[in-house]
Subunit: 242 residues, 2 copies
DNA sequence: TCGATTTTGTTCTCGCGTTCACAAACTCAT
DNA sequence: ATGAGTTTGTGAACGCGAGAACAAAATCGA
């Protein structure tokens, strides 16, 4: 049996064991979204070219990414939209239900609690926690805000593996420590701070202002380039500047 | 003069002309934040090691990143916190004021409008726009919600270069087109859709649910690994499984 | 059945980014 | 002034990911 498997050049099992490149993982959700959109438009089959353009990447990259999951396409035809969609969802783990807690129900926490993109992808917000006693009891997106003290209780009761931190930076590390101690092994951090966690715990950071700053940099370069073009124009009609 | 410059191995000018690697640009805001934190704790000097740990990267990478900006450290000593902070801010373009419009004032737009991380970094929200007539006039974070129809007017009046899209996916491309037509050259897109823009316009995307999905993938792998470990235990006390 | 056509899956090459390792440059104590 | 100790800035090696290009596999018409 092992011999029969090893005779083939590269089985799906081989790839899964080796693990899928991070860069590919990061794009799978994008493909998933594109496939969902196609499915909603009753498209049953799509070529790598069509899919790639819907996802905003080039087709070679898309094919390579999909090849890490296995051989789900048909040469000469393309990919079955619903089938591929299911396979990607399964690969990412979206075919199961992920209970999630959100800590820090300020403006951002509020927005996250009501974000439809979570629910529609197998994420289930099981609790909203906040330190502010004045807010406890208030209902947000159909869920009551509960006390920060109940963190351990909630995590244990729902077997929460993923925690979302939407507190100010000053509280983030404390919240993170408590989440991890309670059993959370993945943290999505919206607070602008660097979290330190023990090995085996994943942290991903989303920083709203960093992206903006990156845009500012490029914007500044555009202004600079425009200035230089203008300066060159003047220099041309003059002696070379000292 | 040109000869004198070319004699030196690599001047700051050379690097700026070549441009700074994207990966480095993306980290500069993180360094900036770390420096600000240090400055607030009245730390005047920091080594690459200290800075790196505060920023959550390794020190070699940090030194190389900073070297793209110029030679702002002192060997044997480290970096002057405030000086370096200013240099990075200037490099990114945060020493100037960037007017910004936010389109789509739902939960997320609301959170963005009130996000302190923008204001404190030279971004100034000059207008909030929404299509819903019922919401127009409502005040959010000290600014009135204005009609979507006023988009062109607002962009022109404030010379807005950066637009933020926080609408549902279905509206995003339309909003983007209008922003670009009105003169915006950088777009920060929070809607889960792929935007197409003419050359010269920068788009960055922030997708709240993608990060969550990446966590789910890793979380699933952890479960899988645990299962396998368990299975191996059983297999050991038994005949090798078929 | 066979050839033409389409489209996938994969190999190969190239470039970018990360990391190591060290020389250069600075401080400080003596 | 000099040597010991630090810490930066950078050259070089390495590994990963992107993209081009092609072989393999499927469909379809004759």
């Amino acid at each position: 049996m092992t011999a029969a498997r090893s005779r083939r050049t590269s089985s799906r099992d081989d790839r899964l064991e080796r693990g899928i490149p991070e860069a590919t993982i990061a794009r799978l959700p994008v493909y998933l979204r594109a496939l969902t959109a196609l499915s909603e438009r009753s498209v049953t089959t799509a070529s790598s070219e069509e899919l790639a353009s819907a996802a905003g990447v080039n087709s070679a990259k898309l094919r390579k990414d999909l090849s890490y999951l296995g051989s789900y396409g048909t040469r000469g035809v393309g990919y079955d939209v619903d089938y591929l969609r299911y396979q990607i969802a399964r690969e990412i783990g979206l075919t199961q239900d992920w209970p999630v807690v959100i800590v820090g129900i300020g403006n951002l926490g509020h927005a996250l609690a009501g974000y439809s993109g979570f629910v529609s992808r197998g994420f289930r917000v099981v609790a909203l926690l906040d330190v502010d006693p004045a807010r406890v009891g208030e209902e947000v997106a159909g869920l009551p805000i509960r006390s920060y003290d109940q963190l351990e209780e909630v995590v244990a009761a729902h077997r929460v593996a993923i925690g979302v931190i939407a507190t100010p930076a000053s509280a983030a590390q404390d919240v993170c420590d408590r989440l991890v101690a309670a059993g959370v092994t993945s943290v999505l951090n919206f607070a602008p701070s660097v979290l330190s966690v023990p090995a085996g715990v994943d942290v991903r950071k989303v920083d709203l202002s960093i992206e903006m700053q990156i845009l500012a940099y490029h914007e500044q370069r555009k202004l600079l380039a425009a200035d230089e073009a203008l300066a060159a124009q003047f220099a041309g009609s003059n002696v070379e500047s000292a």
